[in-house]
């Protein structure tokens, strides 16, 4: 479990709470602003927001550089290095919605049940707890949905692929190879 807590404690360039709150009330303004204005955007967690018309803790600072967000990508080099480490930390790593014990999505659950039935020890990381991780992973894996299964540090597939491989026996073979190496 060590790595999942490490991921959640990532030193983020801005408050993830503010960011997730802003995601809960998606304001097209933020997207338009990111696209049209190349100023530095800062996410502040204070209540004395000098720009009251943007009431989701997103303030644009002209001139004064507070934060580090310039581009759209959620995958900064730091996150990438961390993900490199996570996917190789164990033979089998599953990025899913919910936890091993309480999956919060049918597809994630299918993969968990398959891995459990094969008696494979795997690390399960809940991407619902960290929106930055969630978006970063989509870029990192070049895969837009979850669950995402990594075997031996390599992206294996999502739910459909895992189920198909389980039916054909390919998954068991690959896992055996990974466990023995």
């Amino acid at each position: 479990m060590a790595f999942s807590s490490q991921l959640l404690a990532l030193p983020l360039p801005f408050s993830s709470r503010a960011y997730s709150r802003s995601l809960a009330n998606p304001v097209p303004v933020t997207v338009a602003l990111l696209q049209r204005h190349h100023r530095t955007i800062s996410f502040t967690n204070t209540n004395n927001n000098p720009f009251p018309y943007l009431d989701n803790n997103l303030a644009i600072t002209s001139g004064r550089k507070i934060s580090l967000i310039r581009c759209f990508s959620a995958l900064n080099p730091e996150l990438k290095t961390t993900l490199d480490k996570v996917v190789t930390s164990q033979k089998v790593v599953l990025f899913m919605k919910g936890t091993k014990e309480f999956p919060q999505c049918g597809f994630s659950n299918s993969v968990v049940q398959i891995l459990k039935s094969l008696n494979v020890s795997f690390e399960a990381i809940n991407i619902l707890e960290n929106e930055i991780l969630r978006q970063g992973l989509k870029e990192y894996s070049n895969w837009p949905t979850f669950p995402q299964l990594y075997i031996d540090g390599e992206f294996f597939g999502g739910c459909d692929i895992t189920v198909e491989a389980y039916r054909s026996g390919e998954l068991q073979e690959l896992l055996e190879k990974a466990m023995c190496s």
């Binding site: 919605k97 999505c105 619902l128 895969w143 837009p144 692929i161």
Partner: protein
């Protein structure tokens, strides 16, 4: 082309995949109702979020499953960014599909 608002997501998906993959068989099914209680769907009240897609196309020859799925995802990247939440993809080549039917 009719305006986006008039075409349902299912028909948009169908059009995009048909054009790019020249599919011998293409089925698109909206199964959002099966996921209505989902953690991330519940609150937003979104519709047209989960689809089953079945494609048989010769363009999948020689491609691993991951590559085939990625092809489909790339073709539908607009949809994925505008509220499409998940896709269940069955991507077969004509040979594989014929084998399964027998």
């Amino acid at each position: 082309m009719a305006s986006r608002a008039l075409l349902s997501r299912a028909s948009r998906i169908k059009t995009k995949l048909e054009a790019a993959l020249q599919a011998a068989l293409l089925e698109v099914e909206d199964v959002s109702y099966q996921h209505a209680g989902h953690a991330s769907v519940k609150d937003s009240g979104a519709t047209e979020t989960h689809f089953n897609v079945k494609i048989v196309s010769s363009k999948f020859e020689g491609q691993t499953l991951v590559k085939r799925h990625r092809m489909v995802y790339e073709l539908l990247s607009d949809e994925l960014q505008s509220g499409l939440h998940a896709l269940s993809i069955t991507a077969k080549t004509p040979k594989e599909a014929a084998v399964n039917i027998k």
